[in-house]
């Protein structure tokens, strides 16, 4: 059994089927990119993995580290090693970012240094996401994830709404989290990253990319090549590149 195995996953939101039979697997230490047009089911997939309410699994299975993920609550999944960086994190009035981070790590020096590396030192005394700009929210998400230190990181558009300067700040943090400076065989942290702009690909070398359309995985391949095709021909034409629409996907390195 692999690190993450998703088999024939069907997910409905509000009674409407959004994910329509996805197969996807990922090994430990690998980074996957997910491309797909708006409404294709990318965020639903990450929300389902994290166990967020409102995502109803109607069919299929998800196993993570050999455990049936669907039977676990949100916090149990988190403690098992799943971490989500939200696309639109909520603001929580009255709860200071520092207080939340203190719940994630006992190491106050680590909290301070990580916050500094993400230019968030002055935000520690502020309420979580209250009055934060889009970019600040994304950096705060990455900061929280850094301290949570999960084995599988789910990034939902980590660079959207972030200015160029801060994209590199975020990307650098993600590189550290994913142990990109270690040889491939020594890495243990994995990630699934949703990106629209592809900017993050300039900084982070991903192992594989999946294209999701209308709730299906159309295919997978080298992230750079797929992104070039999408940029050139759009998602519609990209879909035709994948001859076998519902093939079973595995990570490409085996």
């Amino acid at each position: 059994m692999g690190f993450l195995e998703i088999q024939n996953l069907h997910v409905s939101v509000g009674g409407k089927e959004i994910i329509k039979g996805i197969n996807l697997s990922l090994d430990a230490g690998r980074t996957a990119i997910i491309f797909g047009p708006n409404g294709s089911g990318k965020s639903t997939l990450l929300g389902t993995l994290a166990g967020l309410p409102g995502y109803e699994i109607t069919k299929g299975s998800i196993t993570f580290k050999g455990q049936d993920l669907t039977k676990l609550s949100i916090d149990e999944r988190s403690r098992l090693g799943i971490g989500l960086s939200y696309q639109y994190p909520p603001a929580i009035k009255g709860v200071r970012l520092q207080t939340l981070l203190d719940n994630l790590s006992n190491d106050s020096d680590l909290i301070a240094s990580r916050a500094e590396s993400l230019n968030l030192t002055n935000h520690l005394c502020r309420d979580v996401n209250v009055g934060f700009s889009g970019g600040e929210r994304k950096r705060s998400e990455v900061l929280q994830l850094m301290l949570q230190n999960p084995d599988l990181m789910l990034f939902d558009e980590p660079e959207s709404g972030v200015d160029i300067e801060n994209i590199s700040v975020i990307a650098q943090a993600v590189r550290i989290m994913l142990e990109k400076d270690k040889p491939i065989s020594k890495r243990s942290k994995s990630a699934i990253i949703i990106t629209h702009t592809g900017f993050i690909l300039d900084y982070i070398k991903a192992d594989i990319a999946f294209v999701i359309m209308d709730g299906h995985v159309l295919g997978c391949g080298a992230p750079g090549e797929i992104f070039e095709e999408i940029k050139q021909d759009g998602y519609k034409n990209c879909a035709s590149c994948f001859a076998d629409k519902f093939q079973e996907i595995i990570t490409g390195d085996e």
């Binding site: 994290a50 166990g51 309410p53 916090d75 909520p90 009035k93 009255g94 709860v95 200071r96 929280q144």
Partner: protein, 363 residues
């Protein structure tokens, strides 16, 4: 005299704490004054009856002046009894940093406690009062009636923190009125975290030119508790300001939160907020915000929201590994964390600690 022993923790829970530096003390058990002291020149802390002898104007001009003796059955009852309570006076220009600690203890089962306090700050004076009310034991039954008339001279500043820690068989009827003189500042900070049978309170501030009155309240209504509380600020002078903010959590109790701002002269600005969090389906939070404008050049506003803990916030914290219980507790603590501008750090820390202690173990 038979004085029942008082649990020191109950005193600490209403801010009457000998570990905290204070400028003076006042303590009443039922109708007996147990303690009165002032450590600062220019500060008087004496029984009201004594003040009548020393300062004739107190009886003639201040006593049942802002609060009418005929206002309701409780004020009528109080007006017919010998007044028990404090007279606090700060002389002109005297600014006092350490808070004055006052405690009103209810000690006789089945009785009615009648308290009447008068506070007078002369021009430019500054004072903070931490006023606590509690029962000597948890299981007492009875009624507490507390009248407070406050007079703030020109440019003076009063921070008035009221901590309630009653029992579930006590009915409480505080009646308060404040005259906020020109350019004076009044901050009221009301905290009720423990159970009570009933509290009805609606203090009124009359705010003169350039002055401000701010009322903050934090209420945690447990099963069976009934609160009908709020505040009213009459912005009577040009450029007067008013703010009324309440944070209410109901764990099964009922809270009627009344707020009124009235502006009738140019330049007055007022804002109010009532945020309510319902933790239990038996709880009721009824927010009644009222604005009354009588001049076009005023600016009055309000915000109110009542609801349960947001499931999105809850699941957000749970994705970080917090259990549902931990996440709820963090959100509730945050909701009640009201930082009050102008309140001395020591008093704020005291209030924070009392809130934290009463949340702990109850959520």
């Amino acid at each position: 005299m038979n004085i029942p022993s008082i649990d020191s923790q109950r005193l600490i829970d209403i801010g009457y704490d000998s570990d905290i530096a204070s400028c003076g003390n006042f303590m009443v058990l039922d109708h007996t004054i147990l303690n009165q002291s002032s450590k600062i020149e220019g500060l008087q802390v004496i029984p009201l009856a004594q003040a009548f002898e020393i300062y004739p104007h107190v009886r003639e001009k201040l006593f049942f002046n802002l609060v009418s003796a005929d206002k309701n059955e409780f004020t009528k009852m109080a007006s017919q009894a010998d007044p028990v309570g404090y007279y606090v006076r700060v002389e002109e220009g005297v600014k006092i940093e350490e808070p004055l600690q006052a405690a009103f203890l209810f000690g006789t089962h089945g009785s009615t406690q009648l308290i009447h306090n008068i506070i007078e700050l002369c021009d430019g004076a500054e004072l903070n009062i931490v006023n606590g009310c509690t029962t000597a034991a948890h299981n007492h039954k009875g009624t507490h009636i507390g009248i407070t008339e406050t007079y703030l001279g020109k440019g003076s500043h009063l921070g008035y923190t009221m901590l309630h820690n009653w029992g579930n068989e006590i009915e409480v009827f505080p009646v308060g009125a404040v005259q906020v003189g020109e350019e004076a500042r009044y901050i009221s900070n009301y905290v009720a975290m423990t159970t009570v049978k009933k509290i009805v309170s609606y203090p009124v501030a009359y705010v003169e030119r350039g002055a401000s009155a701010r009322f903050y309240s934090i209420i945690f209504a447990r099963q069976g508790a009934y609160f009908d509380t709020g505040a009213m600020a009459v912005l009577a002078g040009e450029d007067a300001g008013g703010e009324i903010i309440s944070r209410v959590v109901s764990e099964g109790g009922t809270v009627i939160s009344r707020q009124m701002l009235s502006g009738n002269v140019p330049g007055t600005i007022g804002h109010m907020e009532c945020s309510g969090l319902l933790l239990d389906e038996n709880g009721v939070i009824h927010s009644i915000p009222e604005l009354r404008g009588e001049h076009p050049d005023i600016n009055l506003s309000h915000e109110a929201a009542v609801g349960k803990i947001s499931s999105k916030e809850l699941s957000y914290l749970m994705t970080r590994g917090l259990t549902e219980e931990q996440a709820r507790s963090l959100i509730i603590r945050g909701f009640l964390d009201l930082k009050i501008e102008g309140l001395p750090a020591k008093v704020q820390a005291l209030v924070d600690e009392i809130i934290e202690r009463s949340i702990e173990g109850s959520i």
